[in-house]
């Protein structure tokens, strides 16, 4: 260690601030209503494009959740003049990128390339946006692959938590749905996608943002020639049911037996992106839980060591929003974590934040602001949000002023309005048998669900002792109805018989046939291990059910997939 010098003893003062140059934008509109925003930036020979439409997942037809995502996934999979492969090769040849995606409020087509290819990549943006052909085989492939990824998502506790929070907080508002279902995927046809594309991709519903090494005049001419003859259409107004208001606190426990962690989310409705309370709420959120120096992190991770990270989130969208506090904690400290969460949620409401906390939060928010404008992509993100959420044109210029203007009183007012621990929904994805008692002190209203999203009465038991029972309870033929997470049921026939070495049997379903490799009956509880033959490979499955006379009720799982609940009746 070197000798201590006095200048080392505390953090140095900053140098004089450097001016931030907010990039200059020029904005114009084509006759058909397409808004065009251009930022000329010739520092590097690059260009980035993003064409955004005010139509997102929230605008999916109620019976076809996931339609927008399928649509965006298919835009680059074929146009009237190019096949999927030709598009991929053309983009690859330029070393460029071209992609499309959606969130709940809007949809974008984005591209980037070296400046030398700025015209060619723009042609492709226009082609995939205006002339997608949605080939039947590509529609089928994306439906299949989406089903596969749904299956994987359902094994993720974070997905299950977000799904449940959205469902209970947004109610009938379309933000309540976060994923398609097997049923909606099956029901989606090419015709439906074509029609949807025609009705949502309208120039008068879009803004085209371009940043990079471009000449505005030449670029505008080219945009006019590519998009000028695109016919505007009628726009529908968002008319969504408001999220429900709740009078008291309640909990939704998604039972995931054996889960090593509890995913806790405490949520209530919040603000829209254009709320006049946005900046005070943002400051409040920053003090409470936005980052690793906020209160939630310092308490639950740094002091208590319950988690790798605890945060709040300000989810402010176009037509509704939520305020959430969340963490993934070790199962045994689920209750202790709730205690600390509620302590912090009460504290931010009941006590004014300190001057230092507010100044630190302001300094954080104004400091990270220019970091977002460093790249073309970052700048375009900001400009697209301004347009899609109808924020004021001077939003970037005035952002720091708005932050600085917020007062301690406004922060507390925002907390009292938008942090409502006594009316919050507590969502926990975790081991129900371990979590239930820990949760009870925090609310009497607890609803229990399985990972398929279905209500159930009690958590999966650990291993209760039950006396040996008579095999006749289970031996026979059963017709069972397996509920998938996606709404569509699978029916199957279960046959169980007894041999000298014990119970055995088989199961037949449209998904395939399986043999029981081992089975047992303890009390009324039947469990069996199954082996499926699929494409030459053995796949393991498990079945567990409670027999009640001629009825059976239980779960079946293929390999490590989530359990699917089933019910059945004895037919012989």
């Amino acid at each position: 260690m070197t000798p201590q010098q006095s200048f080392r003893q505390q953090a140095p003062a900053p140098l004089p601030p450097r001016p931030i140059h907010i990039p200059r934008t020029s904005e114009t509109s084509l006759a058909n209503g397409l808004a065009v925003v251009i930022v000329e930036d010739s520092r590097l020979p690059l260009v980035s494009y993003r064409l955004a439409f005010r139509a997102g997942d929230a605008h999916d037809p109620p019976e076809l959740p996931g339609l927008t995502d399928l649509l965006t996934g298919l835009l680059t999979e074929g146009t009237e003049s190019l096949t999927s492969r030709q598009i991929a090769e053309e983009v690859g040849r330029m070393g460029a990128t071209l992609s499309s995606g959606a969130n709940s409020d809007y949809t974008t087509v984005g591209a980037s390339s070296l400046a030398t290819f700025s015209d060619k990549i723009l042609d492709l943006v226009a082609d995939v946006t205006r002339n997608p052909s949605f080939p039947e085989n590509e529609v089928e492939l994306i439906k299949q692959n989406t089903k596969e990824s749904l299956r994987q998502q359902r094994a993720q506790p974070s997905f299950l938590a977000t799904e449940m929070v959205s469902r209970v907080v947004f109610g009938k508002h379309p933000y309540s749905v976060i994923a398609p279902t097997l049923e909606s995927l099956d029901a989606t046809t090419r015709e439906r996608i074509v029609k949807f594309h025609r009705s949502k991709f309208l120039p008068n519903n879009a803004v085209f943002v371009i940043a990079g090494d471009v000449q505005s005049d030449a670029l505008l001419k080219r945009i006019e020639s590519l998009f000028g003859d695109w016919q505007p259409g009628e726009l529908s107004k968002d008319d969504f049911p408001a999220p429900p208001s709740r009078a008291s606190r309640s909990a939704y426990l998604v039972d995931r037996p054996g889960s090593a962690q509890s995913n806790i989310v405490i949520a209530n409705t919040g603000i829209t992106r254009t709320s006049r309370d946005y900046f005070p709420t943002l400051l409040m959120h920053t003090v409470l839980g936005a980052n690793a120096s906020s209160r939630l992190f310092m308490n639950l991770r740094e002091e208590k060591g319950y988690t790798y990270g605890a945060y709040s989130s300000l989810d402010a969208r176009r037509t509704a929003g939520t305020f959430r506090a969340s963490a993934e904690v070790r199962t045994p400290v689920t209750g202790d974590s709730l205690k600390e969460f509620f302590y912090e949620l009460d504290r931010i409401r009941n006590e004014p934040v300190s001057e230092k906390e507010m100044m630190d939060a302001k300094s954080y928010l104004t400091g990270v602001f220019p970091l977002r404008l460093e790249t073309q992509e970052g700048l375009i993100d900001q400009l697209v949000q301004i347009k899609m959420f109808d924020l004021p044109d001077d939003y970037l210029e005035t952002y720091r002023q708005h932050i600085h203007a917020v007062t301690i009183e406004e922060i507390q007012a925002a907390a009292r309005e938008y942090v409502r621990p006594d009316q919050a929904a507590i969502v926990i994805v975790g081991d129900g048998a371990e979590v239930l008692e820990q949760l009870k002190p925090y609310t009497d209203a607890i609803e229990l669900y399985n990972t398929a999203g279905k209500r159930k009465e009690k958590p999966a038991a650990n291993s209760e002792f039950k006396s040996e029972s008579h095999p006749a309870l289970i031996v026979g033929d059963w017709t069972i109805d397996i509920q998938t997470p996606f709404g569509k049921n699978i029916s199957a026939t279960l046959k169980v018989w007894q041999t000298e070495s014990g119970l055995t049997g088989s199961i037949a379903s449209e998904m395939g046939d399986a043999n029981i490799v081992s089975a047992s009956l303890v009390g009324n509880s039947f469990t069996a291990a199954l082996s499926f033959e699929m494409g030459g490979q053995a796949m393991a499955a498990k079945i567990a059910g409670e027999v009640d006379g001629t009825k059976i009720d239980g779960n079946i799982s293929l390999q490590d997939s989530p359990e699917l609940p089933f019910t059945g009746t004895k037919t012989s």
Binding site: A88, V91, G101, S149, D315, G367, L371, F389, G536
Partner: protein, 497 residues
């Protein structure tokens, strides 16, 4: 490709302090931000047998406070100034970095110099961080399908223990670390003469230089660390293994090859071969397997870039019911075809353009540049490679790629690692002791995850979600057919502001 591309030149000023600290300043006033990176020449390659995981454990220790910076204050200082930060560990080096509003440069230098000169290595901090690392291992490795198999493959590719073991290390070795080991590690490796400091962004060069001298000049130098032997024979340690993964929902496999060191002509050629085979929607294997045959859910790959013998991987997740052996053979055939016929004209054009595009686009970010510059200074003694290395890639010819593929993506230096869901096997027979101790994941969670992206070898310490170093040593590309890029996600993102 026999062409060059004129990158906008990077301003570089370099000097070395009398204590041996190498400093590179790169001024750029485009945005009023500054990025600072400190690279220490110590990674898992420097770890002795019985002390694996030490470099990464030490990375955690660097956030535990120093003479004038209390425990956990490091990230509070950075966040409260409006900055982002993190640290990562790879086989080659341990890095620490932050991006801040430009006028907070003194803060970054104060924080970095205080821990370089006066880190608090206490028993309490060691115990605490040992727990944190073990928690991280559980969360990121042991509780994830496919990830531990991906670590296993390095143990099959490399014979030299310095190369073979993972950066996360073993629980037993971590438990064995004593406070004296840690103090000695700090003295030997965290010396100014074993580090590079790079600063990129909006600053006055004179002022930056005098700040660097003020904060770093009196940190004492140390004798040079002991040399590292990373030499390897050409063949791999073992060519075939089966890994039973308790968390994997479906069978998958990893293929790995031992290849020459970074910055050699064959390394360049093989990196470009990787691009042609599995990077992006136009790559050969994506078009063949994900689109054409529709037989795999995802195919991914990467090149592990090292100063010594390096590695080249492919990971494939077949669709349920597809014949794994057939898919594997198709991959071998495609590699063989590239090694026989070489890339097409169109593929060479694609390589050229994507090299130039990536080189230009990456340098928009000051952090990207700070990290690359530090890396080139540390490994090669030449920070100007940030501009000039591109030409070395552009000089690679189609015949170079053909030759390197046929020579290095061969059978003798290849490992085939099958990943079988352990659940499948348990139903029928108990795993033999040897197999089950092969660290099949221990966690009980029912299942798994979104499309598996094997973890890069570097681990980041402090924060999930904080700015990650863009340049981990393993470059992984992920290709998911049904995924479209969620570039507009900032709306519903939980951290929107």
């Amino acid at each position: 490709m026999a062409e060059t591309f004129q990158l906008p030149p990077t301003t570089i000023q370099q000097f070395t302090l009398p204590n041996g600290l190498r400093v590179i300043l790169s001024k750029d006033q485009s945005t009023p931000v500054v990025s600072v990176a400190v690279y220490y020449d110590v990674g898992s390659r420097n770890e002795k047998e019985g002390r694996t995981g030490f470099a990464h454990l030490f990375e955690h220790m660097m956030f535990q406070g120093s003479e004038n910076v209390p425990k956990a204050a490091h990230f509070q200082h950075i966040f409260n100034a409006g900055g982002t930060m993190n640290g990562t560990t790879s086989t080659e080096r341990t890095n620490y970095f932050e991006t801040l509003p430009a006028n907070h440069l003194p803060l970054a230098l104060w924080l970095e110099s205080d821990r370089m000169r006066s880190l608090k290595v206490t028993q309490e901090n060691l115990d605490n961080q040992r727990n944190a690392v073990q928690e991280e291992k559980r969360l990121r490795y042991d509780n994830q399908p496919y990830i531990n198999a991906f670590l296993r493959i390095n143990e099959l590719i490399f014979k030299n223990p310095a190369n073979a073991h993972s950066t996360i290390g073993s629980m037993e070795d971590l438990d064995a670390a004593t406070i004296d080991d840690v103090r000695e590690f700090f003295r030997v490796f965290y010396a100014p003469n074993n580090a590079v400091l790079s600063i990129v962004g909006d600053f006055d060069e004179q002022e930056a230089r005098s700040l660097v001298e003020k904060y770093f000049a009196d940190v004492p130098g140390q004798p040079e660390p002991p040399p590292v032997d990373v030499s390897e024979p050409g063949e791999v340690a073992r060519t075939q293994e089966t890994y039973y993964d308790k968390l994997a929902p479906a069978p998958a496999f990893v293929l790995g090859w031992k290849i020459p060191s970074r910055r050699t002509p064959n390394y360049y050629a093989l990196t470009l071969a990787a691009e042609l085979l599995f990077e992006g929607d136009s790559s050969r294997l994506y078009q063949k397997l994900v689109k054409g045959d529709e037989s795999v859910v995802s195919i991914q790959g990467g090149v592990d870039e090292r100063r010594g013998p390096s590695a080249w991987y492919i990971f494939a997740l077949p669709k349920p019911g597809e014949e794994v052996a057939v898919i594997r053979q198709q991959i071998f055939d495609e590699i063989e075809s590239l090694g026989t016929l070489g890339p097409s004209e169109a593929e060479m054009e694609k390589l050229r353009n994507s090299l130039c595009n990536d080189a230009v686009r990456g340098r928009q970010s000051t952090m990207y540049r700070a990290q690359r510059i530090a890396e080139y200074a540390l490994y090669d003694g030449d920070p100007h490679l940030i501009d000039s290395e591109l030409d070395q890639y552009l000089r690679v010819t189609a015949d170079d790629i053909r030759g390197a593929v046929s020579r290095f993506l061969d059978v003798d230096n290849r490992v085939v690692l099958d990943i079988i869901p352990a659940a499948l096997v348990e139903e029928e027979e108990d795993l033999s002791e040897a197999e089950s101790s092969q660290r099949a994941g221990e966690a009980k969670q029912p299942a798994a995850p979104a499309p598996p992206v094997p973890a890069a070898q570097s681990s980041s310490v402090a924060l999930p979600g904080a700015a990650q170093g863009g340049n981990g040593q393993v470059h992984i590309s992920s290709q998911q057919p049904a995924e479209t890029s969620k570039q507009t996600d900032s709306g519903p993102s939980p951290f929107v502001s």
